[in-house]
Symmetry: C2
């Protein structure tokens, strides 16, 4: 494996010395100069659910805080569908501040004075980790649809290799929302001994029919765009902007609740006194959605959108355990805090409760926090003090149970 | 005005004799040979909410049953967004049986042995009434986006002209679901003395922000298709099939409930034993949606889809009455039966209840039937015995209140 220049805890440099890997790294780093990257070479292939090995492959990641001596204070953050590794630092693509800044930082629930926080771009993504825009070493061209389908299990398997690479035997906590929450559930199921605690938020252990339906609408919108070119748009020096924009618009509606849309936009007109009797964006909600679509295409790769939506659709943890979700967690010692939001209709509290029931049946330690919110699915990214409080309380309790030093002791130890 | 060949109660033929009108009629009839049409000429312009007159214009309609001597037994059926006038007879386009056959027919709640049932294609539609695919008499080409924006009020104003043309002073009942329900509400508000009874189903007196959002996604999908050509695709001998298909897919998800999708499709695979690890339609729900998209484009005009969605988005009856919905119904003598379905998330029961409260405040006679159904918005088109029973009971009671002869009396009168 090969490390990017600023990777902490870099193990002794191995020497795969393949031109392919160098090319891959060069491409990744050109795209994402600010992220740490680790490239796993041919000696470390990733077995994919699709039935073949991926090799080489790169994961890009960010970290915050300091890993303690016994490497017991690491928290892995798993990002959502179109998220990235910049959970607590500005994205070099959008220049926006970290997407979970409310939660992470000194003195915040995920306290970077206490914890070493890692967030990696998912496999199949487009922010430095290997995805469909990466160079296929076989063809020296971008993979496009030649990249095998990536599953949530593959994403987590790759993350586990990264965590191992960082020398961390057990994560203090794995946490994330939406697709990130699916990864958390998968982590806890596949590697129970490596997760002391787990916080899946606004998520479930499967994608429902309705969720698949909305993703399929988005995929068809992308594939309908003639600029998609069967996934080979990079060869044509173009991107399916319109299709991807429509896909984002459709998805974005599902991230909000009817109530939040009504409160935020209602039937308000956009910078005009009366309807224009045209197909202009008369309503604020139309203008907002168009803007969401347009800005999204500047930061996200269309093929990557196909891959990550497919990963969510394919996820069904119970199906991997004879249809019995409880079997996925038998004997687990991981402590769970499951968070759901009342108006989330992508992952309604009932989906979270299915996981809770399975964990109960498996005899696991689990808290369920159902938060009354009007913000819909996106609540986990927004200002939800109840969520911050719940995570704060759960982490403090887990911190103590894990026997980590409290802040005061640590400070004393350093003086 | 000019009647098609089989229009009943045709008034004395007037003579606008414009080539333009003839062309228009010829086109309409070529498109929809089976429907009755009425064309209102330059002597009968339709004042549009957009601020100009539409003239000439054509309405295509179907009728079932017989108008009685005092013309007191007419029921107007208003169709939904992509519906048509074939409520009780096979569509010549799709060959499918009438879309409300469960409700209409001899011995059914809308009993064609008792009632004269009319259903007209909405203005802006694409089944014989004037819409964006009709010939613009000014340019001798299809209107495309040159057709002014059509509103629900315009649709109803045009229908009122048709009803007047048929010599009917008062409708015994106006009924319809979804966009059809909006028309019912508009009929009862604008022409209270002309509606003895009204049955708005799965509808509301406005489109919410979320509803506008989904329509805007559909419109953008159509406009993103290069075959749309700014609305002039007929000139290019093409249609934006892919864009319209995606629009339909997005909309179709909203017509079903999460529960019905889960019950009907769940995560079942489509004719395969395992996932293909491709972007094929692995899941039944994907295959179903693609099919819905593909078949829709064979029966519906893309520009027409823009117009009818815009009509729904623009509808806000309270806004036309100083924000007070009750004002829209003050002094009404119309009897209302409002029907809502528990899992309809386009027009949830709360939206129906807003209309009920306004009617209560206006002192109107109103029944509210909230039906526990898992079928979502489309329940009004499906097998919902409770809906049929509610309509049956309400119509029987209204029938009596209106002093219409009961079936038995009628039969005796004819023997």
């Amino acid at each position: 494996m090969t490390d990017g220049p600023s990777s902490p805890n870099a193990p002794e440099q191995q020497n795969p010395s393949q031109t392919d890997i160098d090319q891959d790294i060069a491409l990744q780093q050109a795209r994402m100069p600010a992220s740490n990257t680790v490239t796993f070479g041919k000696d470390n292939p990733l077995p994919l659910d699709a039935g073949l090995d991926l090799s080489p492959f790169t994961l890009a990641y960010e970290s915050y805080g300091t890993l303690n001596d016994d490497k017991s204070n690491a928290i892995l953050i798993c990002h959502a569908l179109t998220g990235d590794q910049y959970a607590n630092s500005p994205s070099p693509v959008t220049q926006k501040p970290g997407w979970w800044k409310r939660l992470i930082g000194p003195g915040k629930p995920v306290d970077t004075d206490k914890y070493f926080v890692i967030c990696s771009n998912v496999l199949g993504g487009c922010n430095g980790s290997t995805g469909p825009a990466s160079i296929n070493p076989q063809t020296k061209q971008a993979y496009g649809l030649e990249l095998p389908i990536i599953t949530i299990r593959d994403m987590v398997r790759a993350q586990a290799m990264l965590i191992e690479h960082l020398g961390i035997e057990q994560l203090f906590c794995v946490m994330g929302g939406s697709m990130g929450g699916m990864q958390v559930i998968q982590w806890a199921s596949a590697y129970p001994e490596r997760c002391f605690a787990a916080i899946p938020i606004a998520t479930g252990a499967r994608h429902t029919s309705q969720n698949i339906a909305f993703h399929e609408v988005g995929r068809q919108a992308i594939m309908a765009d003639p600029n998609w070119h069967g996934g080979r748009y990079l060869d044509h020096d173009t991107t399916p902007r319109k299709g991807l924009g429509v896909a984002r618009m459709a998805a974005h509606v599902t991230y909000m609740s009817e109530q939040s849309l009504q409160n935020k936009f209602g039937r308000n007109l956009q910078n005009r006194q009366s309807k224009t009797f045209t197909f202009d964006a008369d309503f604020q909600i139309e203008s907002y959605l168009r803007h969401q679509g347009m800005t999204f295409v500047d930061r996200f790769d269309a093929n990557s959108y196909l891959y990550v939506t497919r990963a969510m659709d394919y996820y069904d943890l119970a199906a991997d355990h004879d249809g019995q979700l409880a079997k996925a967690f038998m004997g687990t010692q991981t402590r769970f805090c499951i968070v759901a939001f009342s108006t989330d209709w992508l992952f309604p509290p009932a989906e979270g409760r299915l996981v809770v029931h399975a964990l109960n049946a498996a005899g696991a330690s689990v808290s369920f926090v159902e938060i009354d919110s009007d913000k819909g699915h996106d609540a986990f990214l927004l200002d939800e003090p109840e969520m911050l409080d719940a995570i704060d309380g759960f982490l403090k309790s887990a911190h103590k149970a894990r026997g980590l030093p409290d802040q005061k002791e640590e400070q004393e130890a350093h003086t």
